[in-house]
């Protein structure tokens, strides 16, 4: 968890100091005391389950609407500014929430919360990314840093979950909302001390419509990717469903307010834990996939059947952990399967699609809970969990992601001028009386010359050779040799005929070979 001892470069110290206000603001924003008792409070001001469904739907509808414009604003104006606006929206949200005595007012509060999340999501990561880039000149520290941000956030959420439960025991529920406001104000102040990175490189912001269109096309035309996207969506439904509707079970079981704290702490901790489990390789083994699928369905069976609060809470926590854990290799597969030309569009599109799916889901869950009780809403969760389980069995075990077809990409033309694999001067002329076309200057087996072929310098040559290739050759050699994907997949992905694909791979290898030969033997082969 703490890599400080390992990587104590001066740049790292400067970076950490510079990022400190972001960590602090994240912590303060994470201390949302009202979250654990929200559903209890909502019930107390007249929300029924259907109303909660509407609230969640309003929220889920606001986020994707605001997300893209907020990204544009962050790029064109100021990322720090957008973060501060986000915190301001959160302040409005908690104040309005705390002042709510009816459903309508609280819906307004939920909308502002949606604005907060939409403005914050993406912006925080971008600001972290650019700061790292500016301080270190690279992005290697990004995963580590974002990991720390997540950790800080998770600690704050767990702490606030427990604290919120305690406050709710001794004080009116709405006080938790008002107590959250000064923490958010403090977050704004802290953000003002942050020195914003000035690397405002123009980012491509796709129009929402085009993103959705691309995503739909991708969904409709690709067999395999469709399953990955489907699993991403049903997983998100379960996760967001737990976050949004999980506490309804506690309401139905009439547990004391105190319980809402540990319940929420359990859910948030499960997200963190799932994030730790997810990257492990065994998650994508067949037996693990079967186990996880069975456990996912099992958790929902408990939610339908059980009347025991500890059992229900346990099932919700485990379900959350499993879904988050699975989401990580699945997300990896999604990205592995999508070429970089449409990656951003598809990734954001899947996110948007997830939100859009959540709207009807939330409405239906709310309606069922209202008419028939939350246990019956559990059946919908069970149905979705069953679908998720089946998808996990199909999608998870394919650890090395298969490349799907890319219909959008026009087939790449075969290279126009085919370079000879070895320079013509290496061979005897065609009219050589004895050995026409045979070696004049044969290549050497490098190992036999006592050359260490995989030294750092040689690897750098290989890398440079690939990086400098024309895009079409590079695509092929990266997929085939670097990523070691089967020829079949690569052809499908790039829309190439077998001969064209092989010819391009051959040329690409030839370029690397020539460069290595020059490096090892100092012989210029390709003029």
């Amino acid at each position: 968890m703490n890599g400080d001892g390992v990587r104590s470069r001066p740049a790292g110290d400067v970076l950490r100091r510079r990022l400190l206000p972001l960590y602090a603001a994240t912590f303060l924003q994470g201390l949302a005391l009202w979250v654990p008792i929200e559903k209890l409070f909502m019930t107390s001001i007249g929300f029924d389950a259907a109303g909660i469904g509407v609230m969640a739907a309003v929220y889920a509808a606001v986020v994707p609407i605001v997300e893209v414009p907020s990204g544009v604003l962050a790029d064109r104006w100021s990322r720090r500014g957008v973060l501060i606006i986000a915190a301001a929206a959160a302040i409005v949200s908690v104040v309005v929430g705390g002042l709510s005595y009816d459903v309508t007012t609280y819906l307004v509060s939920a909308m502002f919360l949606g604005v907060f999340f939409a403005m914050q999501s993406g912006t925080l990561e971008s600001i972290v990314y650019d700061t790292i880039l500016e301080e270190t000149g690279g992005s290697e520290d990004f995963e580590l840093t974002i990991g720390r941000v997540r950790l800080v956030e998770s600690v704050a959420l767990v702490a606030s979950a427990l604290a919120g439960g305690v406050v709710a025991e001794v004080a009116p529920l709405r006080l938790t909302y008002f107590l959250t406001a000064p923490l958010l104000v403090a977050a704004c102040v802290v953000l003002l001390t942050f020195r914003e990175p000035q690397l405002h490189k123009a980012e491509e912001v796709q129009p929402l419509r085009r993103q959705i269109a691309t995503t739909y096309r991708t969904l409709l035309q690709r067999g395999r990717l469709r399953l990955v996207v489907a699993l991403t969506i049903v997983g998100s439904l379960l996760l967001q469903g737990m976050v949004e509707f999980g506490p309804l079970w506690l309401v139905a079981l009439a547990v004391p307010a105190f319980w809402y704290g540990p319940h929420w702490a359990g859910l948030t901790a499960a997200m963190g834990l799932g994030g730790l489990v997810g990257p492990h390789r065994w998650v994508t083994r067949r037996w693990a996939a079967a186990l996880i699928a069975a456990a996912t369905v099992g958790c929902c069976v408990v939610l339908v059947m059980s009347r025991s609060a500890p059992l229900v809470v346990g099932a919700q926590v485990l379900l959350t952990l499993l879904v988050v854990a699975v989401s990580i290799p699945v997300m990896r597969q999604l990205h592995d399967a999508v070429p970089s030309t449409i990656r951003a569009g598809v990734a954001s599109g899947v996110g948007t699609l997830t939100w859009l799916t959540f709207v009807p889901f939330a409405l239906v869950i709310g309606l069922i809970s209202d008419r028939a009780g939350v246990e019956d809403a559990g059946w919908l969760f069970l149905a979705i969990a069953a679908a998720a389980g089946i998808l996990m069995l199909v999608v998870l075990p394919r650890a090395p992601a298969e490349l799907a077809e890319v219909p959008e990409l026009a087939p790449l033309p075969a290279p126009k001028e085919v370079e000879p694999t070895f320079a013509a001067s290496r061979f005897l002329p065609p009219d050589d009386p004895e050995w026409p076309g045979h070696w004049a200057i044969p290549p050497q087996v490098w190992d036999d010359l006592g050359i260490r072929v995989d030294g750092d310098e040689a690897m750098a040559e290989v890398q440079a050779a690939i990086v400098e290739m024309p895009m079409d050759l590079r695509h092929v050699v990266v997929l085939r040799d670097v990523e070691d994907r089967p020829a079949q997949q690569v052809r499908a992905a790039l829309g190439l005929a077998p001969e064209a694909e092989r010819a391009m791979l051959h040329q690409a290898r030839g370029r690397i070979r020539a460069r290595l030969e020059r490096h090892f033997e100092g012989r210029p082969d390709v003029e």
């Binding site: 949302a32 979250v35 999340f117 999501s121 990561e125 990314y129 880039l133 990004f142 995963e143 974002i146 997540r150 991403t232 997983g235 996760l239 967001q240 976050v243 948030t268 997200m271 799932g274 989401s327 990580i328 997300m331 990896r332 999604l334 990205h335 970089s340 951003a344 990734a347 899947v350 997830t354 694999t421 070895f422 013509a424 061979f427 050995w435 045979h438 070696w439 044969p442 290549p443 087996v445 490098w446 190992d447 995989d454 040689a458 690897m459 290989v462 890398q463 690939i466 990086v467 050699v477 040799d481 670097v482 990523e483 077998p498 051959h506 290898r509 690397i512 070979r513 290595l516 030969e517």
Partner: protein
């Protein structure tokens, strides 16, 4: 590669044979062509070296990661952002 007649063994000039290295490693040659290819290799040290170099190239490229040679930044950023978008609901 477009030779209509496939002379066997060393009758095939090296300059043509080296164009088949990738196809050979892919297992994409017809049985007859593969036999000719291997027969040629047996008698031709230069082409054996060329094949060895070809294998070395493929092997070394395989030791690089996709990030070493691809558009690292957008990739990493995207992957993380979407993972987070799912995880960070609240």
């Amino acid at each position: 590669m477009s030779n209509e007649s496939h002379p066997s063994g060393l009758d095939q000039p090296c300059v043509d044979l080296v164009e088949l290295l990738t196809a050979y490693l892919d297992g994409a040659l017809s049985d007859q062509r593969r036999r000719d290819f291997e027969e040629h290799l047996e008698g031709c040290e230069g082409c054996r070296a060329a094949l060895a170099q070809w294998r070395t190239v493929s092997d070394l490229a395989g030791r690089l990661s996709a990030q070493d040679v691809a558009d690292l930044d957008p990739y990493v950023r995207d992957r993380l952002l979407s993972t987070l978008r799912i995880v960070r609901r609240r």
